[in-house]
């Protein structure tokens, strides 16, 4: 009964979403305030009924209702309760339901925060958001309902959750990633509303910026979690594979980053306005495209767990209608939007323009690299792979260039900066960074790009600290009063930039300073990697709730100082007949020790992969810092709602 009620509630949600699209449009068109105002309750109703449907599915999962096809395929009685709940988004149907839930949740929040908005504007904004909701809700209902029953012959045991997904990282990774993807539908809706009403000014930019920041922060976290999960769960010790699914989430991130920066110019200087609108549309389109790529199964990937070609067509059609409509509107209305100031080559605007150009170049590189195998195969040129060697060669230098400008941009001034000032401020930090990097590389393997990237990272770091100190230390007040007075957005920007620096240092060091060994060990034997010794002291078999585990015990010492014991595992999940490698990790601020168990040989020895990963934590730490910076900037007091968009 519960699944039927949940299904019905989902249908209701779709009806409200369709109404939420139509009613405000009619209201705005006929200048009927009551109709336009109905967009609020309709948005809330869509949210409530989607939530009820989601709750229904969670409940059915928790009571092991295997008469529901989706639950029979993705859960089992043996799963612990928290995995039963996270199994709700373990497959395609459920993760789409989660997506829709988050989408309508965002919409409700937008509606809740929209009271200061001009009424026509709000009507169109919420109507666009409802249109997106109804698109996804109908997609869910017509092509991938999670409530399909298996009656009367329902199975007694479930097919179990994919063991790869039975993991904490996977409980929180999809919700965060979806918050990011879905979050970019808000700036899209704002852009459409701006194009229709013709109101695109500084106030508009102040309204959109927090939404973009939040979406960007969540996407950052989502991507970092995915990378972290792949690192410890897939058992290869890599953290980024340039896999199509990773690229699918990376493209909206890059475009979203460009949008963040272009919005800054639109707000502060009234420039790049139509470009900002276009970016908002494209960022949303790339989020959509990501969904299409992952869900349609057109790409072979290690990360995708549920795909079906027929669904791809549906997403693609939606993409064409919504984004195509947006672009058409842009083509018709963009010329009415005027820029209101000017700048010269050393103004902050021109660095931000460069930032946007480079970020878009990076987005396009990832785009071409991800899609060309598809295109080439369709053209009959055979199957081609585009992997890490390609991206490392073409992506990394451009990314380094971008980060180089990150050092100059923040300290330059709007409109125009004296070149002498730029030189005066930047030369000493640069020499200092060069000096520190040279000192550090005495202990590291020398490689040009790595050295260059490391130097730039240090330089940007020094410049950020210098700028904050320079702003805080003044003659008339104490440092602390002055620091309190600096706007949060300034801190947010520098913190996010420092996050990039931290990640970059992690990336450089993990690539040039790590060591791995592939060894074959009997119980009692040991291997050493860098200055760590790993002794295989025991092998044991144990039985857990839903798998059998082969566990090895390693005593780890660092130059004869005992560090503790590590337990790499191989797990056999009997329901699905799948074997999983559970790597053992000893995490640290400057290095990770990583042991993955391989196969057993006839003479009872085991193949073991041992890695010492230098500074790998910094990659995700940097992402967390970036996220924190993004959120901090969004909390700046000038984004507090006041007054209408006029």
């Amino acid at each position: 009964m519960i699944p039927e009620l949940a299904h019905f509630s989902l249908i209701l949600a779709m009806c409200f979403a369709v109404l939420g699209f139509l009613v405000p449009v009619i209201g705005v068109y006929q200048r009927d305030r009551v109709l336009a105002r109905l967009s609020l309750p309709l948005t809330y109703l869509t949210g409530v009924f989607t939530f009820l449907a989601f709750l229904g599915l969670c409940y059915s999962f928790s009571v092991d209702d295997f008469s529901v096809l989706y639950i029979a395929e993705n859960s089992s009685q043996l799963l612990p309760l928290w995995f039963k709940i996270s199994a709700v988004w373990g497959g395609h149907e459920g993760s789409l339901l989660l997506w829709v839930l988050i989408l309508s949740g965002w919409n409700c929040y937008v509606a809740f925060r929209s009271h200061a908005l001009y009424e026509d504007f709000r009507g169109i904004l919420l109507s666009v958001l409802s249109l997106i909701s109804s698109g996804f809700l109908s997609f869910l209902l017509f092509t991938s309902s999670p409530f399909v029953r298996l009656l009367p012959n329902s199975p007694q045991i479930g097919g179990d959750l994919n063991p790869l997904l039975q993991d904490f990282g996977l409980i929180i990774h999809p919700p965060m990633l979806y918050m990011g993807y879905v979050g970019f539908s808000v700036p899209f809706a704002f852009a459409i509303a701006a194009l229709i009403t013709g109101k695109m000014d500084a106030q508009w930019a102040r309204w959109v910026r927090p939404w973009v920041n939040f979406a960007w922060a969540f996407l950052t976290l989502g991507i970092a979690l995915g990378s972290w999960w792949a690192y410890y769960e897939l058992g290869w010790g890599g953290w980024w594979f340039w896999d199509p699914v990773e690229n699918a989430s990376f493209m909206p991130w890059l475009a979203g980053t460009a949008l963040l920066h272009s919005l800054a110019v639109s707000e502060k200087r009234g420039l790049f306005k139509s470009w900002t609108l276009l970016l908002a549309i494209f960022t949303f389109a790339l989020s959509f495209l990501g969904t299409f790529l992952v869900r349609s199964g057109v790409l072979t990937s290690v990360h995708s767990f549920a795909s079906d070609p027929t669904r791809g067509t549906y997403v693609l059609t939606m993409l064409l209608i919504i984004v195509g409509g947006g672009l058409l509107l842009f083509a018709m209305r963009a010329s009415s939007i005027r820029n209101t100031s000017y700048f010269d080559i050393f103004g902050k605007e021109s660095w931000l323009l460069l930032n946007n150009i480079l970020l878009i170049t990076l987005t396009l590189i990832v785009f071409v690299g991800t899609l060309s195998p598809l295109v080439l195969e369709a053209m009959g040129s055979g199957r081609v792979s585009v992997g890490p060697p390609y991206f490392n060669l073409v992506f990394n230098p451009v990314a380094c260039l971008l980060i180089f400008f990150m050092g100059i941009g923040p300290i330059s001034r709007w409109q125009s900066t004296k070149p002498k000032y730029l030189l005066r401020v930047t030369w000493f930090p640069f020499i200092l960074a060069l000096f520190i990097a040279t000192a550090c590389f005495q202990f590291l393997l020398f490689e040009w790009l790595a050295f260059f990237a490391f130097t730039i990272a240090l330089w940007v770091l020094i410049m950020a600290i210098r700028d904050l100190l320079g702003k805080a230390v003044t003659k008339d007040t104490t440092v602390f009063t002055r620091m309190r007075k600096l706007p949060k957005s300034r801190y947010g920007m520098h913190i996010a930039h420092i996050g990039v620096v931290i990640s970059l240092i992690g990336v450089v060091l993990v690539s040039i300073n790590s060591e791995e060994r592939f060894v074959r060990l009997h119980v009692g034997e040991s291997a050493s990697v860098k200055n760590y010794q790993f002794t295989l002291s025991d092998m044991a078999v144990s039985r857990e709730a839903n798998f059998v585990s082969q566990k090895a015990e390693f005593n780890v010492t660092n130059n004869d100082v005992a560090l503790g014991v590590m337990y790499p595992e191989k797990r056999y999940y009997q329901t699905r007949g799948q074997v999983m490698t559970e790597a053992a990790l000893s995490t640290g601020f400057t290095r990770d020790l990583y042991i993955a168990l391989g196969e057993r040989y006839d003479d009872d020895s085991w193949s073991v992969k041992i890695y010492v990963k230098s500074f790998v934590r910094w990659i995700w730490l940097g992402a967390l810092v970036m996220m924190f910076g993004g959120i901090l900037a969004a909390l700046d007091k000038r984004y507090k709602p006041r007054g209408e968009i006029e």
Binding site: F343, S372, V384, G387, V548, E599
Partner: protein, 140 residues
Amino acid sequence: MALWLRAVFVWFAFLSGINSGMALADSIREFETPSQKVRYEQLIQSLRCPKCQNQSLADSDSAIATDLRDQVYRMITSNKSNTDIEDYMVARYGEFVLYKPVFESHTFFLWAAPLLFLSVGAIVFILVLRAQRKITETEF
């Protein structure tokens, strides 16, 4: 209890199953020179396992990846060049196995695109700045 025993049995049956065929497949590689070792590691990173979802030879545990790692090892120790090894792999499994696509007519766009984007970006940058200078001269 019966289930428990059966599970353990299946587990060991499974283990012996995967081991029988490739018992010595992944013993530690011995190389004559360190540069051979580096080449081996680079090659297995940049060659794609032909049967897997999206994994390099180095990352995959599948039987075919193990065999191909052996093949790479044998070819390196018999002094074949990287090009020889890649040609050998392409001849058997197609260009699909190369993570770094070849530079030929059909992949021309793939390799030219980054440069193209950068130059278009540079042109846009110059044009925007020029337009700005014009505005400065005429209006302000």
